[in-house]
Amino acid sequence: MSVLVYLENWEGKFKKNTWEAALYASKTAEMLGTEAIGVTIGDLEDDASKAGQFGINKVLSLKGDDFRQFDANAFGAALNEVAEAQGADTIILSGTFNAKALAPSLAIYAEAALLTNVTALPLSADPFTVKRGVFSSKGFNDLSASASKRVVVFVPNSIGLEESEGGAEVSETSASTGDAPRVSVQEVDRVKGKIPLPEAERVVSGGRGLKGPENWGMLEELAEVLDAGTACSKPVSDMDWRPHSEHVGQTGIAIKPNLYVAIGISGAIQHLAGVSASNTIVVINKDEEAPFFKAADFGIVGDAFEVVPKLTEAIKKFKANN
C-alpha cells in the first residue's frame, strides 16, 4: 500500500507548506516501507516536478472545470478516488484552511481513521500512531488508527524542510467529484503582500499594551524586516483594532512558528494555548510581572514604543552585515 499526499496550490502556485507535506509523506512512506505519490488539484502555474526534491517520484494532476473551485465534499471524493486507484492506505495533508475542510469528507469516503492536529512524524507503523496536540496545546496525546486506512492532517511547520536533488514525473489523471450539491464561490479576497497565519515561520504579535490600532505601524515594520506574519491577542481583535483573522490563541488560530515575538501581551492562559508550541518566544512587556515571561525564551522589560524601533534597527543592521 502506498502513501498519497495532497500537494495544495494557491492560484496555481505552490508554497513551503506544499513541500513540507511532500517531505512528511515521503518520510512516512519510508517508515512504512513504501512509496509516496503526490496529487495536485486545479490548474497549475508552478512546476509540480519540484516534489522530487522532497522524495516524491510521481505526481498526478487533477485538472478541469470540476476542480477550479474548492468544495469540501467534491475534493474529498476526488482524492479518495485517486487514493483507491493508487492503492494508497495513508493520505497526508498539511493543515491549511481548505485541507481541514476537506479531510473529514475524505475520511468518510475512504472509511479511514482521521488523525488531525498532528505535530510530528508518525510515531509507529503498527498500530499507526501519531502525536497530536489537544486542549489547545496545553497537552499532547498519542492517537492510533483502528481502521486500516488513515488520513493524517499535520500542523504546518511541524517538521520543516530538507531539500535534496530530484524531479518528479508529473502526469494528468481524472476522478469524479461525487454527487453532493456543491458550493459556488463568488469572490476570493486574499490580502496581498502579507504572510498568512498559520504558515508563517516568524510571527510578530501585539496586545493591548500597544494602546491603539494607530500604533501598529512599528509592529508592521518589525514584521517586515523579520519577514514575519502579524498577529494579535484576543482583546485587540475584540476591540476591532485588528481583523479577527489575526487573532491567535485558544479561540483564534493556533500557530507553531519558529519565532514568536509578543509585544504588549500579558500572556493569559488562553493566549499561551495558541502560541506555546512556537519554537522560540520573545516577550516585550513593560510589566516585569507579566505571566508571559514564564513562557518566554527571551524577555525584555521595557516600553514597547522604545524597544520595538530599536529592535527593528538592530535587525536591519544585522541583515546588512550578514
Partner: protein, 248 residues
C-alpha cells in the same frame, strides 16, 4: 426553517489541564465545563434566525448525563429544545454518525457546528456530518445569510476570505464572525427559568464504531528559564536569536 446546533461540552478556557489514571485520561477534577466557544457563536446566530426569520432551534449534544447543564444553558440562551444522544463521545466519526442520524430523523434545514472544539481540537465532526448527509460544507464560516432555499456565506481561507453560496440544506463549521463577541448572550433569570420547562429529549445512540484509539496523554515540556535582555541592548537580542535560537 429548522436549525440544528451541535454543542460540545468542554472545559472552560481558563482551565488548568491535567491528566490522570497513569496519563490515560483527562482529569475532570475541579474543571468547570462550558459550551464550546466556537459553538456559542453559532448558537447565537441560530437564535437570531429564530428571532428575525422565525426559525426553530434545536441544540444537540452527544454525551453522558453530565453534559445536561451545558444543554440547559443553551436553552436559556434561546434554543427551543434540546436532544442528548446518550453515549460516551469516543471519537469524531462516532459522534458524526449520531448527529447525521438525528438530522435525518428531524428533517433539519441546516446544521451549525463549531470549527473545532477546544478540548480535542479535531475539527472533524462538522465536515463528517456533511459528507454522511451529502450536504455542502462551509468550514471556518464567519458569515451566513439565509434567503428562501439559498444561503450566502463568508469563510476564512489562507490569508484572506472567500464569499460563496450554497443551497439548503447545508452544514457549517462556525466561529467568531457569525456573530461578534459582544453579541454573545449571558442567560438571564427569565431565560434560565424558561429553560427548565423546555424539552430535553434523551435518545439512544445508533450503532457506530470509533475509528481511532486514544493512547497516553502528556503535558508540554516545561520551558527552560527565560533569558532577560536589557531594553537598551537589542543588538544582544539579535545575536542571541541568530547564534543561540538560530531563528534569524
Amino acid at each position: 426553517m429548522k436549525v440544528l446546533v451541535c454543542i460540545s461540552h468542554v472545559p472552560d478556557t481558563t482551565s488548568k489541564i491535567n491528566f490522570t489514571n497513569n496519563n490515560t485520561e483527562f482529569d475532570k477534577n475541579g474543571v468547570q465545563f462550558v459550551i464550546n466557544p466556537y459553538d456559542e457563536f453559532g448558537l447565537t446566530r441560530a437564535v437570531w434566525l429564530k428571532e428575525k426569520q422565525g426559525a426553530s432551534v434545536t441544540v444537540l449534544n452527544v454525551g453522558t448525563a453530565e453534559t445536561e447543564p451545558t444543554l440547559r444553558k443553551a436553552l436559556a440562551i434561546g434554543a427551543d429544545e434540546a436532544i442528548r444522544v446518550d453515549a460516551e463521545p469516543t471519537d469524531a466519526f462516532f459522534v458524526a454518525q449520531q448527529i447525521a442520524a438525528v438530522a435525518k430523523e428531524g428533517e433539519y434545514d441546516l446544521i451549525i457546528a463549531g470549527r473545532e472544539s477546544i478540548d480535542y481540537n479535531g475539527g472533524q465532526v462538522g465536515g463528517m456530518v456533511a459528507a454522511l448527509l451529502k450536504w455542502p460544507f462551509i468550514n471556518a464560516c464567519v458569515g451566513m445569510e439565509i434567503e428562501g432555499d439559498k444561503a450566502s456565506f463568508t469563510r476564512e481561507i489562507d490569508g484572506g476570505k472567500e464569499k460563496l453560496s450554497a443551497p439548503l440544506p447545508f452544514v457549517i463549521g462556525g466561529q467568531k464572525g457569525l456573530v461578534e463577541e459582544s453579541d454573545l448572550r449571558i442567560p438571564n433569570m427569565r431565560g434560565i427559568m424558561q429553560a427548565r420547562k423546555k424539552p430535553l429529549a434523551v435518545k439512544e445512540a445508533v450503532d457506530a464504531e470509533a475509528k481511532t484509539k486514544v493512547g497516553d496523554f502528556a503535558k508540554p515540556e516545561p520551558k527552560g528559564a527565560v533569558t532577560m535582555v536589557d531594553a537598551d541592548n537589542m543588538e544582544e537580542l539579535v545575536k542571541l536569536l541568530h547564534e543561540k535560537a538560530k531563528v534569524i
